[in-house]
């Protein structure tokens, strides 16, 4: 999952908007739906699996 979390979330919002407005063909709608489900899964996983990474800058650096 090399993409940034915030980018994925933005894409999810975009998909939601397009489907809500219905401005696409049936094939596109199905594709977008699948993409949206995949993104939502990945985002949730990222959120729940994350452990905070804390590093301390050494005074010498």
């Amino acid at each position: 999952m090399s993409e940034k979390f915030s980018d994925k979330l933005s894409r999810l919002e975009v998909i939601s908007n397009i489907l809500e407005k219905g401005e696409c063909s049936l094939e596109e709608a199905v594709e977008l739906y699948q993409e949206g489900v995949k993104l939502a899964k990945e985002c949730n996983k990222q959120l729940n699996d994350a452990k905070q990474k804390v590093t301390t800058l050494n005074p010498e650096e």
Partner: protein, 402 residues
Amino acid sequence: MNNAVMTVSQLNRYVKSVLDGDYNLQSVFIKGEVSNFRVNFASGHAYFTLKDDGASIKCVMFKSDVSRVKFNVEDGLNVICRAKVTLYERDGNYQLYIYDMQPDGLGSLALLFEQTKRKLEAEGLFDLSRKRPLPAFPSKIAVLTSENGAAVYDILNILNRRYPLCEVLLIPVTVQGVQAPADICKKLEIAYNLPDIDLIILGRGGGSAEDLSAFNDENLARKLALSPFPTISAVGHESDFSITDFVADVRASTPSAAAELSVPQKEEISQYIDSLSKNILYSTNRFIELAELKLNSITSGYVFKSKDAFFESLIEKSDAVFSKITLCFERFMENKSSAFLEVLGKFNALNPLKVIERGFSITYKNGTQIKSVKQLEKNDNIQVKLSDGMANCKVESLEELK
């Protein structure tokens, strides 16, 4: 002392010793308004006048003492000074050596705060237009605070609890004392040069005005204003402000508040993702429903629903047409036949062979048909064709009808 004539030097020396010898005059506290304040550029000593409504006195402040004054000395300020009363022998000037100076009214820290605030505000460093929005989903935050004390734990705990997705880089700084402003400036410079920072939190826990005074330092404020990333200033007093609070993009009242402002809560995001997912599911289903409805409305049209009836009516139609065609053709044929028979009848009537059957004959002479007596002569050989044969005859006589 007697009535002997003195020199100026002697008199000045005498009066000076009188003043120096008075215990009360060695350390007086005196208040007044500063005027004509100037610093000698070469020596660094300050010369000014202290005055009130009725009188004034010249003042000297040595460089070492000037440097200990915690605010900027300006004309018009009311101050309280600890001073020694003396006479400068050389010119006979009665004056004060000022050792300490405090603002009369506001504390010196508060005064410096006001002066710095006024100055930087005039330069536009506090302008709202400079403030940047915080990133919604930061991926890396630089936290500048003391590694000791509660502030750092509070910040880290809250960041971890709310949004562990975000990396934290802790840059320890000195947060009080004389060294603090310079140390913070140095660490800020380091943070500015890091490539992937989204946000800087600069803060410390609560303390006295003196403890927090590093965050009013003019140089520190200027350095913070240069940040390429959004900054949060979180200097731990609930109600008062530090200069860094004005310069930063966002002010938080405590380091914990800063942590809460800087990241979203992962529970909220989960909920948001869920609601987006639901919306996507609902929208897709609706999309398919609409497509179905459209399809149904087409197939439930007359053509599709009663397709047998449709075909039957087609067949009926085509049968009817076929019958009509057949009828027309027959009639046409009939007409043609009867017309033909008519013509045929007429033709037959005209058939000379039929005429012959009725008794008429055809006369030939030398193969040529004879229609008139004028074509004949007596003794001509003629052939008479009858219905069932030929009679070879000779002309006996001719008679012309008149």
